[in-house]
Symmetry: C2
C-alpha cells in the first residue's frame, strides 16, 4: 500500500533519489560557491516518537491507529519549516492517535471523546498546510488527528443547477475524476491540488485557479455541512441569500476551530471547449502591473492573468531575466473567447506590452473538450510540480519559501519595494545573500495578490532559525505596508502574531465567543485564530 | 425645511393629492367591483405619541430631538404593514429620542448612555426597511433611534484602485452626486435608492442593480468601520484576503446588532460609455427561465438579465399578458459590448426567444458617458418610482406586497408553483381573490432570485391582519420549497420566525455569543437575528 512520505511533498515514491540529490548538490555548490553536503534521507524506521498517551475506547478503536509512520505524517503540514523539521526527525509533539472517521457518527464519537477527556482534535484534510494549520499545540494530554480521507466521494450531481454534493475528505484528483464523466469540473487547482481536499480548501479559503472574478473556494460553496461539538451546522443550498451574516462565510476560513466539515454542495463548471491564450512581454514588472490593472478594471475577467517579474519569467519560462511576462488565458464551455482576448491584448499593447499575432492562440471547441495550449499546460504542470522540487534540496542548507498577500493598486509599488527590501535585507543578513522574485497569482479591480518567493543558501542544521528570521522580516513588512498576512495560505500557527495585528479587536472577541459557543471545551484546533 | 412623510414613501411633498387618490379609488372600484372609499390622509398634527421617557444628558442634548414628527418617522420602515399602521396613526411604541450623531465620539456617548441606562439603540439609515428592521422592540424603558444622516460625505477617492471612503449615512443620490465629478459611480441601485444609505445597504446585504456576478453590496465592500459598545471594529483595505473568516462578512447582514457602521471603503466603478440592450419575448415564463439559465451558466455576466412573467410584462411594459419578457443589458466604461450581446441573443433565440434585429441596441461611447437606451431608462425610472405608487391606495383596503427569495434551478419550477399556489390560495381565502406576478431580479449560475408581487382588495381597517396571513402563507411556502426567507430585503422582525428555521442552529449559537461579546448589554437592535 503506497504511503505518504513523512517528510517530503508527496508519496514515499516521490522522495528524491540519491542521484537527483547529488546532482542538485553539485548545482547548488556551483551556484552559491560553497561546498554542499548530501546528508542521508531519513527513513521511517528512524522515527522515534513519544509513546501514544491515549487508549482509544473499543468502538472507536477500529477507525484509529497509533502507527508511528502515520502519526509522523500527521504531525506537520508541508511548508519549508515542516519539511526541514521532519527531515531532521524532530517530532516532539506528534498526535497520539490518527482517526479515520467513516461518517458523522464516528465524528460525533471522536469529538465526544476529546471533549470528555480534554484531548485536542486536529481536523486533517490532505495535510498540505504551509502555515502550521495541522500542527498540534503543546499543553494537551492527548492529541487526536482526524483524517477525513475516508469521506472521499461525490454523492450527488445536479446537472441543471450545475452543483454537486461532495464529501469533504476527497483529494483534488479523485474529485475531478468523479466529476469528469458528468462533463463537469470544480476547476479549483491550488498548487497543493494533489494533496489537499475539498474540506481543507473550504476551511482555509483556498485561492483557486482563476486569476480574476469568482476564484476563491468561497465563491463556489453553495452550502456546507459541518459537525460541531454542539451539533450539525448545515446551511441551505442557495444561489444567493441576504438572511443575516452568511453562515457559510463563517465556516470559510474557520481552519478547523468551529467544527469538522464533512460535505458541501459546490458550484461546478462545464468543462472548457473554447480557449484563448497569449504571453505578453513587458520591459518591467511595473509596466506589466499597469496593464494588469487596466485589464482587470475593465471587468473582462480572464481566467488566467498571471504576471511574472523578470526573475520568475527566467525561472519558470526560461526568459532572459530582463522582461516581465503576462500570461493571459480565457476559457469557456459554450462561447468563443477570441473577442475578449483581442480586447485585452489591445490594452496590454497600449501599456507597452509586446506580443506577436502568431503568439495569440485561439482554440474553438469542436464538440469535444479543447486541449490546453501547450505553454499553458506546461505552466500548470510546472506549477503543480513545484513543491516536489523542494524535496531534493532538503537538508543541504537551502532556505526557501513563498509568501503571499494582497494590497490595493495605489499602495502596491511601495509594498513591492518594502517587502522585497525587507526580504533582501534579511537574506543578506542571515544567509549572506539570496534571491527574491514575485508574481501576481490573482488580480482584482482594486489590487493584486502578489506572491513572493525567496531562496538562499543557509547553513545545514540552522535552516529553521534562519527561515524564521527571514519570514518574520517579510511578515512585518507586509503588515507595515498595509497588506494581509495571507491571501490564500491561511493563518495557522505561523501567521497568528500578524493576524492578531490585522483583524479588528471586536471581531476577534466575537469569533472567540462564537467558538466557545459551538466548542465549549475548546477541543477543536485550539490556538488557531483565537485563544481561550 | 422639507420633511419626510411619516407614513408615505418619500417626502411630505410626495404624499398623494386628493385628486390622485379619488382617481385611483375609481379605478380600483371598477377593477374589483366594490365601492372604494377615500379616507382622509393623516396629518402630522394628528400624531399622539407616548411621552418621551428619556431625559438626554447635557452634552448629547444638542444632537437629540424628541420632536413628534421625527419620532413617528423613525418608528417604522416603509413596508406595506409599516405604511398602513402609520396611515392609521398606530404608533404604540415609538422611539423616545432620535439622535443625529456627527462623529464617532457622539456614537460612543450614545452607546454608553444606552448601555448604562438599559435603553435600546436602533441604528437608522434611510428607514426604508420593509422587514421591520428599524422598528423598536417592546419591553425597554427607553428607545434611542440613531439616525446616521449627518455622516453623509465621500471622504476620499482613490482613482488608481477605484475605491472611495464613504460615510455610512449618505443617501443614494447624494453619494452618486459626490462620485460623479470623479468619473465614478457605485452603481448600486436598490429600489430604495432615494431613501436608503450606504450603511443600511451594508447592514442588510442589499442586492444591488446588476443582475449577475458581482452585484451584492457585499462584493463592493473593501473595508468597513463600525462602532461597537466594545470599541472600533475596522478592517484593512484589501482586494482579497484569506486570513480567517472575513470580518466584513460578519458585518454584512448584521442588521445593526453588532455595531453602528460609520464608514466603508467601497469599490467604485467607472461610468459606463458602452451599452447594449435588448428585450426578448418568450411564450412562457418557464421558456424564458430556461434561456436565462443557459445565459448565466455561460458566465458572460450581463449587467441586466431581468425576466418578467406575462403578468409583470403587462403591468410594467404594457405587453398583452401572454408573453414573458427578458430584458438584457450590458455596460462597460472601456469596451464595446456588442459581441457579448450577440452571443447572448443567440442563446435566447435557441431557447425560443423572439427579438428583431432592430430591437437590439448597441451604443458605443464616443468619449462621453453613454445615455441609457430609452426603454432601459424608463424601466429604471419605473422601478425607482414604484414605491410611490403604493402611497396612493393606502387606507382604501388594498393589500399588496412584494417578497423575494432564491432557489437552485432544478427546484425552481416546483417553487414557482408552490409559492404562487400558496399566495393565490391565501389571497382567495383572505380577500376573495387577487393577483400574483413574478420576475427574476438577480440570476446566478446555480439558480434565480425570484421576486413575487401580490395585490388584492381587502377590507379597509383590516389590511394589517389580512396582509399578515397572506405573507405568512408565502413565507411558509418559500421555506418548504427550500428557498431563503430573504434574498435582499433582510430579516428584520418580520422574517425572524422563518430565519430561525433556515439558519443552522450552531451558527445561531455562535452569532448570539458574538453579539454578547461586542454588545454585552444587548443594547443594539435587540430581537433582530438572535435573542439574548
Amino acid at each position: 500500500m503506497p504511503r505518504r512520505s513523512f517528510w517530503a511533498w508527496g508519496m514515499e515514491s516521490d522522495e528524491p533519489t540519491e542521484g537527483q540529490r547529488r546532482e542538485l548538490a553539485a548545482g547548488l555548490s556551483a551556484k552559491y560557491g560553497v561546498p554542499v553536503d548530501v546528508p542521508p534521507v531519513p527513513a521511517s524506521s528512524d522515527l522515534d516518537l513519544r509513546r501514544p498517551r491515549i487508549a482509544v475506547p473499543g468502538p472507536l478503536a477500529e477507525i484509529c491507529t497509533t502507527d508511528t509512520h502515520d502519526r509522523a505524517v500527521h504531525t506537520y503540514g508541508r511548508s519549508f519549516r515542516d519539511r526541514i523539521r521532519a527531515f531532521n526527525l524532530q517530532f516532539p509533539n506528534p498526535p497520539d492517535v490518527v482517526a479515520y472517521p467513516r461518517d458523522d457518527g464516528d465524528l460525533v464519537s471522536l469529538l465526544d471523546l476529546c471533549s470528555s477527556q480534554g484531548y485536542c482534535a486536529i481536523p486533517f484534510g490532505g495535510g498540505s498546510s504551509v502555515v502550521g494549520g495541522v500542527e498540534p499545540p503543546d499543553g494537551y494530554n492527548g492529541i487526536v488527528s482526524i483524517d477525513l480521507s475516508r469521506l472521499d466521494r461525490v454523492l450527488e450531481i445536479d446537472d441543471v443547477s450545475r452543483a454537486a454534493r461532495i464529501q469533504a475528505g476527497v483529494y483534488g484528483p479523485a474529485l475531478e475524476e468523479q466529476l469528469r464523466p458528468h462533463g463537469f469540473t470544480l476547476r479549483h487547482f491550488p498548487q497543493s491540488f494533489e494533496f489537499s481536499t475539498l474540506g481543507g480548501w473550504i476551511a482555509t479559503r483556498s485561492g483557486g485557479h482563476y486569476a480574476t472574478n469568482q476564484t476563491h473556494i468561497d465563491d463556489f460553496v453553495e452550502s456546507v455541512r459541518m459537525i460541531t461539538p454542539q451539533g450539525v451546522w448545515e446551511s441551505r443550498r442557495l444561489p444567493g441569500s441576504g438572511a443575516g451574516p452568511s453562515p457559510d462565510r463563517m465556516v470559510l476560513g474557520s481552519e478547523g476551530t468551529l467544527g469538522v466539515i464533512t460535505e458541501a454542495w459546490m458550484r461546478v463548471q462545464a468543462r472548457p471547449r473554447f480557449r484563448a491564450s497569449a504571453a505578453v512581454r513587458f520591459s518591467s514588472f511595473a509596466a506589466g502591473g499597469e496593464a494588469v490593472r487596466q485589464i482587470v478594471q475593465t471587468k473582462v475577467w480572464p481566467a488566467n492573468c498571471r504576471l511574472l517579474d523578470p526573475g520568475e519569467a527566467q525561472d519558470a519560462l526560461g526568459y532572459d531575466g530582463t522582461r516581465a511576462i503576462l500570461v493571459l488565458g480565457f476559457e469557456s464551455a459554450e462561447l468563443p473567447q477570441g473577442e475578449q482576448m483581442r480586447q485585452v491584448i489591445e490594452i496590454a499593447r497600449d501599456c507597452g506590452g509586446a506580443v506577436g499575432e502568431d503568439e495569440i492562440r485561439i482554440i474553438d471547441g469542436t464538440g469535444e473538450e479543447a486541449r490546453r495550449p501547450e505553454a499553458v499546460g506546461a505552466w500548470r504542470n510546472a506549477f503543480i510540480g513545484a513543491p516536489y522540487q523542494r524535496n531534493i534540496s532538503m537538508g543541504m542548507g537551502v532556505v526557501a519559501e513563498t509568501l503571499e498577500t494582497s494590497i490595493t493598486w495605489e499602495r502596491w509599488p511601495s509594498m513591492d519595494e518594502a517587502v522585497r527590501g525587507a526580504l533582501q535585507d534579511a537574506l543578506d543578513r542571515v544567509c549572506g545573500g539570496g534571491r527574491v522574485t514575485c508574481r501576481f497569482t490573482h488580480v482584482y479591480p482594486d489590487g493584486p495578490a502578489p506572491y513572493f518567493t525567496f531562496e538562499a543558501m543557509g547553513r545545514p542544521g540552522a535552516e529553521l532559525a534562519m527561515h524564521e528570521e527571514i519570514k518574520r522580516a517579510a511578515s512585518d513588512a507586509v503588515m507595515a505596508a498595509g497588506g494581509t498576512i495571507t491571501h490564500h495560505h491561511a493563518v495557522g500557527r505561523v501567521h497568528r502574531p500578524w493576524y492578531d495585528q490585522q483583524r479588528p479587536d471586536p471581531f476577534a472577541a466575537g469569533l472567540r465567543a462564537a467558538k466557545s459557543a459551538v466548542d465549549p471545551n475548546w477541543v477543536l484546533n485550539p490556538g488557531i485564530l483565537v485563544d481561550r
